[in-house]
Amino acid sequence: MIIHSILFLSMLAGQPSASAEGFGDVLHTIEDISKSVTDNEEASGSEDEAAQKTADDEKDAAVDKALKGIGVDGTTADDIQKSLGFARRTKKAVESARDLDPADERQIGRVAAAEILAKYSPFGDEGLNKYVQTVGQAVAMASDRPQTFSGYHFQVLNTEEVNALSIPGGFIFVTKGILRLVESEDELACVLAHEVAHVALGHGSEAIVEARRMKAGLGIAADASKTYGSKGTGKGLAALRGDVKAVMDILMRTGYGHGKEFEADAKGALYAQRTGYDPSALTAVMRKLKSSAASQGGFLKTHPKAGKRAQQLEEAALEPPAWYSESETRDMRFESALAALGGSGE
């Protein structure tokens, strides 16, 4: 029982990322040593139960061999073997609920983004969309996650609400309202970089995983593997719908939470700096948001107060890169692209 508990707790302590850490990795290591064992966690969805049993038997044999190889034998080896079996089953079930790879993110994000585009129509000026895409892709390339499964994609929304939002998989939206607020390419880059940071840091994905775990329940882990099994029917389809709902809840209701917004501010400023922009432009945007009556409603009602965000950014005092300089070209292309917004929007 003690051994069971140690393994169980150790695995649960691992980070909710694709590459498990701590004892989760150790468990992999034992299995890797055998060389004859393939990682059947990915394959499990397409294998029938008999094949699964064979794979598990092979794993058991490999672990036995590994243990004997380092001098562990007899009752202790049996106990370890039993514990590993228990740990393996539990780990598989828990990970099936938390495992979210880039392809999953893209597909769940795609549906959520399609919902956003049904609520807010896309702004049709392709010149402006392409300009925002270019600036956004540039800061994304300098982020901690330069590429998502199918890349970052940016779209202007045809609403005067002042906001920007991001969806797992790299779908990022900015409203006409926030484009009217920014006054330079540097400021636009910082707004986009903040949204890229949410994606790069996996904030939306964490929320999906958390929602999955809540549903699956760690104590009934066996059911989790059924709920998030590889078959896209029945329970699986309902689970995927639940994933989309988790994203939509964040976007429309709860937000990421103040801690994650501050984190995205800090990282966003850093990404903008790495790209070559002046990171203090994000502080300037926050100051404007503070005085913008339009920002008090809509998505931003779930965000920390803009004044507090500006203060935190100022305290971080991130400087522009050493090679930074003003650029007439940069100013001109910004003015030219944003001319597509037309009048004041009042």
Binding site: T29, E42, I70, A118, Q137, A138, H153
Partner: protein, 168 residues
């Protein structure tokens, strides 16, 4: 009772020792697998460096060394740097199934259909009204190639002088 507890405790300690030894053994000869649709192998571990190869989803790469967030890897005859977020330690299975949506990834052999995503999107389409997949297709089709991106940055005085023309 005490004897039993002591025995179990000894076994727990033995297990931890075993696991620790085995964990150390795993540090060498790592392989990683591409987990995104359009991964890029760079000439140097910098985001604006030239792309030397584009390994496919599911390709296995041998890690030569690590520098920050980048792995130097060998893919066939090509050696280059790939960002750690583009790869995973887990094998990425390929299949004949194609993904949904109008993106450059649609021709890739990936496993999304097996995960139920095609059915998810079909389900949303069938129920209609609350989603706009046409707009998402247009959004996903919008992308700027790397050469244009580098040129955009250079013209805007955003690249360091040391970044030579052509992103080399």
């Amino acid at each position: 009772m005490l004897k039993r507890s002591a025995r179990e405790a000894r076994r727990a300690v033995a297990l931890i020792v075993v696991l620790a030894v085995l964990a150390g053994a795993a540090a060498f000869g790592a392989q990683v697998h591409v987990q995104i649709a359009s991964a890029k192998l760079k000439k140097s571990p910098q985001w604006f460096a030239a792309t030397v190869a584009e390994p496919a989803l599911g390709d296995t790469l041998n890690v030569l060394k690590k520098a920050g967030c980048w792995y130097q890897v060998k893919a066939g005859d090509t050696t280059g740097w790939i960002h750690k977020s583009a790869v995973t330690g887990k094998k990425t299975k390929k299949s004949r199934a194609s993904t949904v949506g109008a993106t450059q990834t649609s021709a890739d052999d990936i496993t999304l259909a097996g995960k139920g995503f095609n059915e998810l999107e079909a389900d949303y389409r069938k129920n209609g009204g609350t989603v706009n997949f046409e707009a998402i297709d247009a959004m996903e089709a919008r992308s700027v190639d790397e050469a244009r991106l580098i040129s955009f940055l250079r013209k805007g005085a955003l690249l360091p002088k040391s970044a030579k023309k052509g992103g080399k």
